[in-house]
């Protein structure tokens, strides 16, 4: 395996990791600040993708579709907050899990009801549709570089927002002790809504960004939800910094591991056994990785709570 191939795989890992980060950021804030387990966060990613698919079919332009999809995703998140989630904040985690699972069932079936079961497609925007040649014959799509750029920009914005604004300060304070923030006279209900809507919009943004490269289909949020949970648990719940680091780690471990595990195993096993074991181990890698991290750091890499 050449160095260029490794470099390309690292880029892929970075891109996957950044998408995971966009989803995990909202999840970790909602969880950290409100102590609310939102399984329906994955369907917000799906809804973002469907919105951009619907709007781009309507307007014929990805840019307009993205501009329309973001406020719609925000509005949709707030609608869910008012209708369902608001009534669950003072319930225990299990009730939250059950009710938000109900939301998943409803919405997965709901998008099928509205758009049909067949996967939808979103064309890659004209401006970003080409590829750049990284090495001889190795093309890398410009759109994926754009995802990486967008992910990094959002991460930087989040960093500024959380660390250098008043709302960010409240969010940080809320993550470490929500009761205290409330006692100090902050309208915690409004803070919750802001955090929630913002998280929903980030997940919707992630869905919108991947819509042109992945297929838009019912249930697309389910598996990524589990990965987002893996990310926030490794990173430490409520920690944006932790989520960022963990998302990139998971992205790299998954992509690079899938690509190179069989090759590494070939050093110790014969080729047939190596490829068989490699296939078995590759999908397990991130879970082994998480179990190992939790074994040594039972509250994740950057624990926030007291």
């Amino acid at each position: 395996m050449t160095a260029t191939l490794f470099f390309v795989q690292a880029l892929n890992g970075l891109q996957f990791g950044l998408i995971l980060f966009l989803i995990a950021a909202g999840l970790t804030l909602v969880f950290g600040v409100m102590d609310f387990i939102n399984l329906a966060h994955g369907v917000q990613y799906m809804v973002g993708a469907y919105l951009v698919a619907a709007f781009s079919a309507w307007t014929g332009s990805f840019g307009w579709a993205l501009l329309l999809a973001l406020p719609s995703a925000l509005a949709f998140g707030l609608l869910l907050e008012v209708l369902v989630f608001r009534h669950l904040y003072d319930r225990d985690h299990l009730d939250q899990v059950l009710a938000t699972f109900g939301v998943i069932l409803f919405l997965n079936q709901g998008v099928r009801f509205v758009w049909g079961a067949a996967p939808l497609s979103v064309p890659v925007p004209e401006l970003l549709s080409g590829s750049v040649e990284i090495a001889n014959g190795l093309l890398y799509p410009v759109y994926r570089l754009a995802i990486i750029a967008a992910g990094l920009v959002v991460a930087a914005l989040l960093y500024v927002l959380v660390n250098h604004t008043r709302v960010g300060m409240l969010v940080r304070a809320g993550a470490s002790n929500a009761a205290m923030v409330s006692a100090l006279g902050v309208n915690i209900q409004r803070l919750f809504m802001v955090v929630f809507g913002f998280g929903a919009m980030l997940a919707g943004f992630a869905g919108a960004m991947v819509a042109p490269i992945l297929s838009v289909e019912p249930g697309m949020g389910d598996n990524i939800l589990i990965l987002a949970f893996v990310v926030i648990v490794i990173g430490g719940i409520g920690s944006i910094r932790g989520a960022f680091l963990a998302a990139l780690l998971i992205g790299l471990v998954d992509t690079v591991g899938r690509s190179f595990a069989p090759n590494l195993l070939r050093l110790v096993l014969d080729p047939a056994a190596a490829s068989q074991t490699g296939r078995a181990i590759a999908p397990m890698l991130i879970y082994i990785f998480m179990a190992a991290i939790l074994f040594f750091r039972p509250s994740g890499l950057f624990p926030v709570k007291r």
Binding site: T2, T4, L5, V8, Q9, N12, Q15, F16, Q109, R112, G116, A117, A118, P119, L120, S121, P123, V124, S129, S131, G137, L138, L139, Y140, P141, Y143, R144, I213, L214, S215, V216, E217, P218, G219, M220, N223, T255, R258, S259, S275, R279, A282, P283
Partner: protein, 391 residues
């Protein structure tokens, strides 16, 4: 859409009302299909194909009024087993038609054939059901799973490709697909790459393909996986340099999402919507009018399944109680299949022609697969000889 539903309902109601007050009981057919989850679209094609056939036959099969009971196996084998028991014992169906997925077929095979109910597969054709575990109550209007893959192996061999890269999901059907490809392909295989099931991002495999520069790639990526792979393959600039051979990847269930990215890609199949027979033209037009989609082979198989049941019942005078007579009538397959030549082998699987098909855009802007060349003539599956039809 709503309008068609209403007219359909109306048509059904009218045929029901018009039915003569004959004493004969309604014929019951259970459709066992995957209708939820990411693969639901495959089940929908099969369901719509069957219902279209029943409608075309005037709401009757073999002269008897039909009740079609549709159940969703949720792609969970154990759920499917319970649903099948409900179909057989509660609804007392005369036929079970389905399923899409092989794991469901393997799990439900035993309870259905044990109850001496005829099981007609409209897609799944796992190797053991064609070979060692073949059963006189099991028929398929589709194919044995390996056969579409064998088409591409043969093509790769005939075109003299020296190095081929293989890519499939890491599950049994994926391994079978690659094994099917290798039955006729004897050249070098530069890599057999297995990705976790439901992988949606193939960038890391594409990077490998680009660096290895094979003469062609062969892949089996059903459903959403196929949509993504094709779009990403095109975006990585590989589509024009390295031929893309596949099965169950570029078909009418995926083409609406793959769009232009799939044009020109090659597949193996026993049929294509542009097949030039009067029956097929009528079928495709009627299907598109009713469901606003180009039918995939799943729809064709289940349309044929309804024709098959119709023909068998006509031969027995509508009776289903003499199982041996009914089986003999099914085995004869005296109906005009949409794909042209069709007969059953001794194992209950079709002996039929296979084609290389190519994805293309029609003048009306819709995409479909079109026949490029015939690869196998009257082709029998590789497992038929393992079937000893005595039990």
């Amino acid at each position: 859409m709503n309008g068609t539903i209403k007219t359909l309902g109306l048509a059904a109601a009218v045929t029901l009302a018009a039915a003569p007050a004959m004493a004969q009981e309604k014929l019951k057919v259970g459709l066992l299909l995957t209708l939820s989850g990411p693969s639901a679209v495959l089940g929908q094609h099969a369901r719509d194909g069957f219902q279209l056939a029943v409608k075309d036959l005037g709401g009757k099969l073999g002269g008897r009024d039909v009740e079609v009971i549709v159940v969703d196996d949720e792609l969970k084998p154990d759920v499917a087993v319970t649903k099948v028991k409900g179909l057989i014992e509660r609804d007392k169906v005369d036929f079970v038609v389905g399923p899409i997925f092989s794991n469901v077929a393997v799990a439900t095979h035993k309870p259905i054939v044990d109850s001496k109910t005829f099981y007609i597969s409209v897609n799944a054709g796992p190797s053991n059901l064609a070979g060692k575990s073949c059963n006189p109550y099991f028929f398929a209007t589709s194919y044995q799973n390996d056969q579409n893959h064998e088409v591409l192996g043969k093509v790769a061999q005939d075109r003299g490709y020296k190095k081929v890269y293989l890519l499939a999901p890491n599950y049994q059907a994926g391994k079978d697909a690659l094994a099917g490809f290798k039955r006729h392909y004897k050249g070098e295989i530069v890599e057999e790459s297995y990705t976790p099931l439901n992988t949606l991002d193939f960038q890391s495999e594409l990077a490998k393909i680009a660096s290895m520069q094979p003469d062609a790639i062969f892949t089996f990526m059903p459903g959403g996986m196929g949509v993504n792979l094709v779009k990403q393959y095109r975006a990585a600039g590989l589509a024009d340099r390295i031929p893309f051979l596949s099965a169950f990847t570029v078909d009418e269930t995926n083409l609406p999402a793959q769009q232009d990215a799939a044009i020109g890609m090659l597949s193996g199949s026993n049929w294509a919507p542009n097949m030039d027979t009067p029956e097929n033209k009528k079928f495709v037009a009627a299907y598109e009018a009713a469901y606003n989609a180009v039918p995939a082979s799943y729809a064709m198989h289940s349309y044929d399944a309804a024709l098959l049941i119709d023909s068998a019942l006509k031969a027995t005078g509508g009776k289903t109680d003499n199982k041996d007579a009914l089986r003999a009538a099914i085995q004869k397959a005296e109906f005009k299949s949409l794909r042209g030549d069709f007969k059953f082998g001794a194992n209950g699987f079709p002996v039929q022609d296979f084609y290389l098909v190519k994805a293309a855009k029609r003048p009306d802007g819709k995409l479909q697969t079109e026949i490029a060349e015939k690869v196998f003539d009257n082709y029998t599956d590789a497992y038929a000889k393992e079937c000893a039809p005595t039990n």
